[in-house]
């Protein structure tokens, strides 16, 4: 059975140290931005498939292929919905599949970044590009809470299944309705948590002055190799050397 809660799993930061996770955070961010922009520049199926193929070495270096595979499988219903809606309105099967693939490519790029970069590193990236600290902090906190929310979802699903709840597998509406016992506790718990967090920040003098940072990052030749690789990806996909 497809479990919708698995979608979160690929987005949880992995503790495993890999070649990719040890890169400079800015390198990972550049790669992420590239694979976020490139799929949006092309709308043909060949480009989308090649972008997916080009992300495969990165998945291998970051050892995220299995988790991303599970996440794609869990979001298959959503991807299928995108393809179907596109087909209904555009009446072009290849274009519709390309749109589904585009979404999958965005999912892969985001999952690689999230799984290999801890929230503090992401906050540091935003600070490096001069994003105000209160925005950076909100973003970091949102990311840091992904595993917490994932654990909440896990507990809620376990509690509701213990009460005889079944997630419907047939029909979109039935499935959506069967998810209500999961969504409502999730929303209420999240709101309560955010209230508690804001109070906790207030009492710990958040926003009272300029903050200092402890770590500094170093660029290595491995970062250089990955940046060269991403430039090649841009040339292949945008210039379309091989396909156009």
């Amino acid at each position: 059975m497809i479990d919708p809660t698995r979608i979160f799993k690929a987005f949880q930061a992995s503790k495993e140290r890999t070649l990719y996770s040890s890169l400079h955070p800015m390198t990972k961010f550049i790669i992420f931005l590239s694979f976020l922009v490139i799929p949006l520049l092309r709308d043909d199926i060949i480009s989308q498939v090649s972008i997916f193929v080009l992300q495969m070495p990165i998945m291998a270096c970051s050892k995220t292929a299995k988790r991303i595979g599970e996440s794609i499988r869990s979001s298959s219903l959503f991807l299928l919905m995108i393809i179907t809606l596109n087909f209904i309105f555009i009446r072009d099967l290849f274009y519709s599949v390309a749109m589904g693939m585009r979404l999958m490519n965005l999912l892969v790029a985001s999952a690689i970044l999230m799984a290999t970069t801890n929230p503090i590193e992401i906050g540091d990236i935003l600070s490096m590009i001069k994003v105000p600290y209160y925005i950076t902090f909100a973003f970091v906190i949102a990311l840091r809470f992904v595993p917490v929310l994932a654990r909440d979802v896990e507990n809620i699903v376990a509690a509701q299944r213990s009460r005889g709840m079944r997630i419907a597998t047939d029909g979109f509406l039935k499935k959506a309705k069967s998810l209500i016992p999961l969504l409502i506790p999730m929303i209420i718990i999240s709101i309560r948590r955010s209230q508690q967090l804001s109070e906790a920040l207030e009492v710990r003098a958040f926003g009272s002055g300029k903050r200092s940072f402890y770590f500094s990052y170093k660029w290595t030749y491995v970062d250089f190799c990955f940046i060269v690789y991403v430039i090649i990806c841009w040339i292949i996909t945008v210039r379309g050397l091989f396909f156009l």
Binding site: A158, A159, R163, G164, R166, I180, P185
Partner: protein, 266 residues
């Protein structure tokens, strides 16, 4: 009877076993207390009972669990929830309905019971929430929420009821009320399994059996006397309840603090 036979379990992504070679049988019409330090494997043991392990929590599972002769590996969680009801530590994880009444009848309706109204009434009466039928669950106090979570499981009329850390965040009155509910459930023939590190409350509950868990294996198994066994509890990283220390000092065993005070004060 619930029989746990040579069960070992390791959560996926974890290098250590949460449970190691656990053998246990739990009868109906009894109260079994499972105690241990945080991370000892108490909650994992509870998750075995209604099939959350191995169906929901992924990992390496060895051995088998039989609930009234049915192997939990062969039945879905929804089917097993007809036999074993599980009350979670955080009641907030369960609530989603507009009213207490809708919340209580969700379980029996999910199980396809036609007598859900009768079951809901009975559960609310037993937990003292009849007057709060129309209240939103989220507006209840911590103790009422806990009682509601128990009512949600009671309405499913399961033969066994397992509770995970039921006293967390509860005041003295709520703790006492919970004891009364559990004792009456035992008298009704239900098998009660309580997991807690709150030995004072366990001592007041006066369970028929106490199981001490340490590092995923059963360290001690016996009657309520274990709660007065300072050496065993200390080796399991637990502090004996004050009632059992006083009880031992005055030569009385297996009584809660209320009974000891009555004994002392006459």
């Amino acid at each position: 009877m619930i029989e746990i036979e040579k069960v070992s379990f390791k959560y996926s992504g974890s290098s250590d076993y949460a449970l190691r070679d656990v053998n246990l049988s739990i009868d109906r019409a009894s109260i079994t207390a499972i105690v241990g330090r945080n991370g000892a494997g108490k909650s994992t043991l509870l998750r075995l009972l209604n099939g959350l392990i191995p169906h929901f929590y992924e990992g390496e599972f060895k051995g088998r669990v039989l609930v009234d002769g049915v192997d939990t590996r062969e039945k879905d969680i929804s089917d097993l929830s007809r036999k074993v009801g599980l009350v979670f530590q955080n009641p907030e994880h369960m609530f989603f309905s507009e009213t207490v009444w809708d919340e209580v009848i969700f379980g029996p309706k999910a199980l396809g019971r036609n007598d859900f109204e009768e079951l809901g009434e009975k559960a609310l009466r037993l937990t003292g929430l009849v007057d709060m039928k129309e209240y939103p669950p989220w507006s209840l106090s911590g103790g009422e929420m806990k009682r509601l979570s128990v009512a949600c499981i009671l309405s499913m009329e399961t033969d066994y009821i397992a509770l995970d850390e039921p006293t967390v965040g509860q005041d003295a009155v709520s703790r006492k009320e919970l004891i009364d509910i559990l004792r009456s459930l035992k008298e009704m023939g239900r098998g009660i399994i309580v997991v807690s590190h709150d030995l004072e409350w366990i001592s007041d509950l006066r369970p028929d059996r106490v199981i001490v868990i340490r590092d995923g294996y059963i360290f001690a198994d016996g009657g309520p006397d274990i709660l007065a066994d300072t050496v065993t509890l200390a080796r399991a990283g637990l502090v004996p309840p004050i009632s059992s220390i006083i009880g031992r000092a005055i030569g009385v065993k297996g009584l809660g603090i209320d009974e000891i005070l009555k004994e002392v004060l006459g």
